[in-house]
């Protein structure tokens, strides 16, 4: 399937981070993996959880919660890694995103999507493609390319929560 066909599909995969629900276009999702052992890479930014073996290739895994300024993911049986195909500097690369749980695949009509709120949102508006209202639940549709290709933490909050694990994140000789 090429990009054009993919974008015509209106299916979105929804997932939860804490109590909030987000969704990503299925064209971006390659795979959903159960939680597995993540090899930590020392001296990396905190949201870079490490790497895993995805059928013989090395896949970097990002803790989406930290990226969004929440507390680091606590692993439960529902924790999943969503394998995404994102565009970064004009190249297509694969990356795993840690999420608290995967919910469902939703069929959403583009016309029913609400524009992203520009004021008062916790998240940078460039990361949000729109908001879907399903049974009074608001689901934020994310632009995966911009969320996962930026080096910065995506939250509007100034600082990520400090954890006991790493303190100097970006300090590299």
């Amino acid at each position: 399937m090429n990009q054009e066909n993919l974008s015509r599909i209106n299916s979105y995969l929804s997932f939860k981070l804490g109590e909030e629900e987000f969704a990503a276009h299925v064209g971006k999702v390659l795979n959903i993996l159960e939680m597995t052992k993540i090899t930590e890479v020392p001296k990396a930014p905190e949201y870079m959880k490490g790497v895993i073996n995805l059928r013989g290739t090395v896949l970097p895994v990002i803790d989406t919660r930290i990226k969004f300024g929440m507390a680091p993911t606590v692993y439960t049986t529902n924790t999943c890694i969503i394998v995404l195909d994102i565009e970064m500097d004009g190249e297509s690369i694969h990356v795993g995103a840690l999420v608290d749980s995967v919910q469902a695949v939703l069929e959403l009509d583009e016309n029913t999507l609400l524009p992203a709120p520009s004021i008062g949102s916790k998240y940078k508006s460039e990361f949000i493609e729109g908001v879907a209202n399903i049974d009074d639940r608001f689901i934020m549709i994310l632009n995966m390319d911009s969320v996962f290709s930026s080096d910065e933490l995506s939250s509007m909050k100034d600082k990520a929560v400090e954890t006991e694990k790493t303190s100097e994140i970006e300090e590299i000789g």
Binding site: V41, P42, A44, N53, T57, P60, H94, K165, I172
Partner: protein, 679 residues
């Protein structure tokens, strides 16, 4: 058809490269007949192929060149500087001719015509003209000679796939011939080894082609046989029936005729028929084969696929070994070990396939130095050492540009003018040496010149003027020299066409860093400059030592490791200045647990892996050493691009990921951090 054209272009590019190399060698050694022969043959092949694939311009162009070198080959023309200049220009032009898009360009066609005229003018120089005329007249005077050829192949010649009869046929096609096959050496039936050749031949050949042409026929079997080619007479002896009859009679009576006997016969005949001229049978000149099939051409995509498969195999083998270890099934361990051995051999072989000698890129450097020193009116000799040093082809490809730049710098700024050199008491001729050699798991490439060197004061002033460093900052010589690698830094007082545009050494460093290499500069004012490039041998699979820190496996490249020691944990943690005594020597160490922030260890002993770092021994403390491991290096991906300490990851037998560390970077980073915290 396009496919064939592509193939032709590929082949032609190789041929042209070879040609360039031969020409440069010819410049050194202008009367080496072997080189002249080689040049001639390349031109000939190029002409043949291009005609076949419809590159008419190349066909015609090389025809003229071929003529020039034919004249040289016959001794009618000498290899002069002028000839070489034109030929080298022609070689450049040939490269352009391979691109058909150029043909529509008017300027290009004009250049083509001009060059064609220049080539033609070589043939028309008076000396050549006279000689050429002579040789033409000789040709038209039925330049038929009779030769005696004794061809005795070695017994084992069949094992090379050579059929001597084809050679005889080829000789026969040169003209009229009388062939005597001698079977007297054939042993008794029971002693015959059917794989051996017992026959030898005597041939009386009448041809217009010279000894060269005859020699060419046997060119590939020279080592496999004894060959005797002698001229019997300047006329066609085979037209004389008495000579033929006599020769046949002798052949029938005796075992072989021999040159002397024929010579006497020939003299007799010549006396009788001095006036008689023979009819000429016109035969097409035979094409000389010029390449043995000692190598085959494989597309680089196929090689990439092969390398990937080998990587997969090595990973799978690691799983098998682990499985065999965990399940004590009789026989399985032996099989697993065997597979390990085989995959290691396969890996090494596959690697050696993608390694190519750096010689492949040296030709263009030789050319660069030659042309540039002419242009700059400097007298420079370019010496290469270790050109058989092999590197991964991808590395070589990305190395050419930086090296080119370094050489340009040396020529332009390094080497002084001849007069200046003389005043300084140096030889008038400057020297640039390119040396390549192995050092551990790295290949070092050094470019040194005996030129002016770099004045550290000048760099300092400039750096201060440009605001790169503060005026009161003190720098060591090394740090000062390193400044030239910063962007926008160029110390050349005048900017020339060649270098000094301020883009340069920073690009060199970046390009070399892209292939995981490092570049260093050493220079002494007035004595010369040496630039050293350090490169990894190969990019994808390394022999490593698997170690464990906390829950994570790491792979340390085996090449860097000197020795491993077990040290009590409390000794590591109670040291204030991070130095342990090992084998009676002080070794400073880094506790990777601390450096990676992974908490404290509870075991009684830790292991110190001592690695070589810039001629010093430095210890890296790990929890424990697991064992040797072949790591298939996989990239960590763009998200970890700022992560320098880890050069990649590899997948272990149990499916988990281990990180491959770059010991140099780790130590450099920690050492610099320590210095800053101490201040």
């Amino acid at each position: 058809m396009d496919n064939f054209k592509k193939k032709f272009i590929e082949e032609a590019t190789d041929l042209i490269d070879g040609l360039e190399k031969a020409l440069l060698a010819l410049e050194e050694n202008s009367d080496d007949p072997a080189l002249i022969q080689q040049v001639f043959r390349v031109m000939h092949t190029l002409k043949g192929n291009s005609g076949m694939f419809g590159f008419d311009l190349i066909d015609r162009f090389t025809h003229d060149l071929e003529t020039v070198y034919d004249l040289i080959r016959n001794g009618s023309l000498r290899v002069t500087r002028q000839v070489l200049d034109v030929t080298l220009a022609a070689v450049d032009h040939l490269k352009l001719l391979l691109n058909e898009d150029n043909y529509s360009d008017k300027d290009f066609i004009r250049a083509h015509e001009q060059l064609t005229l220049r080539v033609a003018s070589l043939i028309d120089t008076p000396q050549a003209l006279e000689q050429a005329a002579e040789s033409v007249s000789v040709l038209s005077n039925a330049d038929e000679c009779t030769y005696y050829i004794l061809f005795e192949p070695r017994k084992e010649i069949f094992s090379n796939g050579t059929n001597p009869l084809y050679l005889i046929d080829e000789v026969a096609s040169l003209g009229n011939s009388l062939v005597f096959a001698h079977l007297n050496r054939v042993p008794k039936l029971k002693d015959i080894n059917p794989e051996n050749c017992y026959t030898y031949w005597e041939i009386i050949l009448v041809t217009k082609e010279g000894t060269n042409a005859i020699n060419d026929v046997f060119i590939f079997v020279e080592d496999e046989s004894s060959l005797d080619i002698q001229k019997l007479a300047d006329l066609n002896l085979l037209n004389d029936s008495t000579f033929v009859a006599e020769a046949k009679r002798i052949a029938a009576e005796k075992e072989d005729i021999g040159y002397n006997m024929l010579q006497t016969l020939a003299e007799k005949v010549m006396k009788q028929q001095q006036q008689k001229q023979a009819d000429i049978i016109k035969r097409e000149k035979i094409t000389v084969k010029d390449t043995t099939i000692s190598s085959i051409r494989v597309s680089s995509e196929k090689l990439d696929v092969l390398m990937n498969l080998v990587s997969e195999l090595v990973t799978t083998q690691a799983r098998l070994s682990l499985f065999a270890e965990q399940n004590a099934i009789p026989g399985l361990t032996a099989i697993a070990e065997n597979v390990q051995k085989l995959s290691r051999q396969l890996r090494d072989t596959a690697f050696s396939i993608v390694l190519i000698p750096i010689e492949n890129m040296l030709t263009r450097f030789q050319r660069l130095v030659r042309d540039l020193s002419n242009e700059l009116h400097k007298d420079v000799v370019f010496i290469t050492e270790g050109s058989d040093t092999e590197l991964d082809k991808t590395i070589i490809e990305s190395l050419a540009d930086p090296l080119m730049h370094i050489l340009r710098n040396s020529l332009d700024h390094g080497i002084e003018d001849a007069d200046v050199r003389q005043k300084l008491g140096k030889p008038r001729q400057g020297k640039i040496i390119l040396k390549a050699f192995y050092s551990g798991a790295s290949v070092l490439i050094q470019v040194s010149d005996d030129g002016a060197g770099i004045d550290p004061e000048l760099i300092r002033e400039k750096a201060i003027a440009k605001g790169i460093i503060a005026a009161d900052r003190k720098l060591s010589l090394r740090e000062t020299l390193d400044l030239v690698f910063l962007p926008g830094f160029s110390t050349a007082k005048k900017v020339t066409d060649v270098s000094g545009r301020g883009v340069g050494m920073d690009v060199v460093r970046r390009k070399i860093a892209d292939i995981r290499g490092e570049v260093e500069i050493d220079s002494e004012k007035g004595v010369g400059t040496t630039i050293t490039i350090k490169l990894p041998l190969t990019l994808s699979i390394i022999d490593g030592l698997l170690v464990k820190i906390d829950d994570t496996h790491y792979v340390v490249p085996l090449s860097a490791i000197d020795k491993i020691y077990a040290v009590p944990t409390k000794e590591i943690y109670e040291k204030y200045n991070n130095v342990v005594i090992l084998d009676g020597r002080q070794v400073s160490f880094f506790n990777l647990r601390e450096e990676f922030n992974v908490g404290n260890v509870d075991s009684e002993f830790m292991q110190v892996v001592v690695v070589n770092y810039e001629e010093k021994r430095v210890g890296l403390v790990v929890d424990h050493v697991v064992g040797e491991y072949q790591a298939v290096l996989k990239p960590l991906g763009k998200h970890y691009k700022s992560q320098e300490m880890v050069s990649g990851a590899t997948i272990l037998g149990d499916g988990t990921v281990a990180l491959v560390v770059d010991t140099n970077k780790i130590i450099k980073q920690f050492a610099s951090k320590q210095v800053t915290t101490n201040k």
